[in-house]
């Protein structure tokens, strides 16, 4: 199997808006053991200058992983998900995600390369509010392991 290299630079349509809930942030923070009051208590978050509870740094993966299904399930790109390993992940934040945000993801294929019998797909997901304010950009590199 070989991936379609003409996908480099291609962007997908924006995802449906994701409503960031206060309880979802609390649930995620609790699941990773993050006890900082700013993740749980709106007053503590307001003291830091935020309108509501602040999401932990990797929270955006809840949205971006769901958004990346656009690529993973795109038959034209030809990704065999059973052989996919998560290689790299990066987040660059304009500001933290906070409860009440309504966020839209735009996926772009930044790179498709082959090396040593494996294929690598790098995606960039730009996460903005529905008003167009940039919040965070996520990069993910997937490794498609070659057939042994």
């Amino acid at each position: 199997m070989s991936l379609d290299h003409s996908f480099i630079g291609r962007s997908y349509p924006p995802t449906a808006p994701y409503q960031v809930g206060r309880e979802k942030i609390r649930e995620f923070a609790t699941a990773i053991g993050a006890t900082d009051p700013a993740h749980h208590d709106p007053e503590a978050a307001r003291a830091l200058g935020h309108p509501d509870v602040v999401a932990p740094p990797t929270f955006p993966v809840v949205l971006t992983m769901a958004a990346n299904r656009q690529l993973i399930e795109d038959p034209a790109l030809g990704l065999d998900y059973s052989r996919v390993v998560h290689g790299d992940q990066r987040f660059a934040y304009t500001r933290p995600v906070v409860a009440g945000d309504e966020l839209v993801c735009v996926n772009t294929v930044e790179g498709v390369t082959s090396r040593g019998g494996h294929e690598f797909v790098t995606t960039r997901t730009d996460v903005k509010t529905t008003a167009g304010e940039p919040v965070v950009t996520a990069w993910m590199k997937l490794v498609v392991r070659g057939e042994a």
């Binding site: 609790t30 990773i32 993050a34 740094p57 992983m65 790299d88 992940q89 990066r90 987040f91 990069w139």
Partner: protein, 130 residues
């Protein structure tokens, strides 16, 4: 400068909780049967769970929940989590690479399990001046 090492215990229950909270229900993170079927030694932690623990270490070092402006890692080795009460441990340490005039602190991060690195190229930028 080296920052104080932080140790996180990880059990199967943590992986189940994380699966639910994150929406990542890949069975290699909860089923030994399916994990071994794809060649893993057993159930492994979500790479994103390890990264989340690094995020916790960062906000603890910074003393603020909103201090992380950039975080990137490469997943190099699976974290095997045995089905017992002890689970395993992930140890996170970091050295300060640079403090910029704009009040940003750049870190090189190490995350290990049983003395072996589970991440590489793990770097973060924290906003340390408000």
């Amino acid at each position: 400068m080296e920052l104080p090492t932080q140790t996180f215990r990880v059990t199967r229950a943590d992986l189940v909780r994380y699966a639910g909270a994150s929406g990542d229900f890949n069975p290699i993170h909860w089923s030994d049967r399916l994990a071994t079927k794809v060649g893993l030694p057993g159930v492994i932690a979500h790479g994103m769970f390890t990264m989340a623990l690094v995020g916790r270490a960062l906000t603890t070092w910074a003393g603020s929940a909103d201090a992380v402006v950039d975080l990137g890692v490469r997943f190099t080795r699976p974290v095997v989590v045995p089905d017992d009460d002890e689970g395993t441990e992930i140890v996170v340490s970091a050295v300060v690479r640079e403090v910029t005039e704009a009040g940003l602190t750049r870190l090189d991060i190490t995350a290990s399990c049983h003395g072996e690195k589970v991440l590489s190229q793990a770097r973060a930028t924290l906003r340390t001046a408000r």
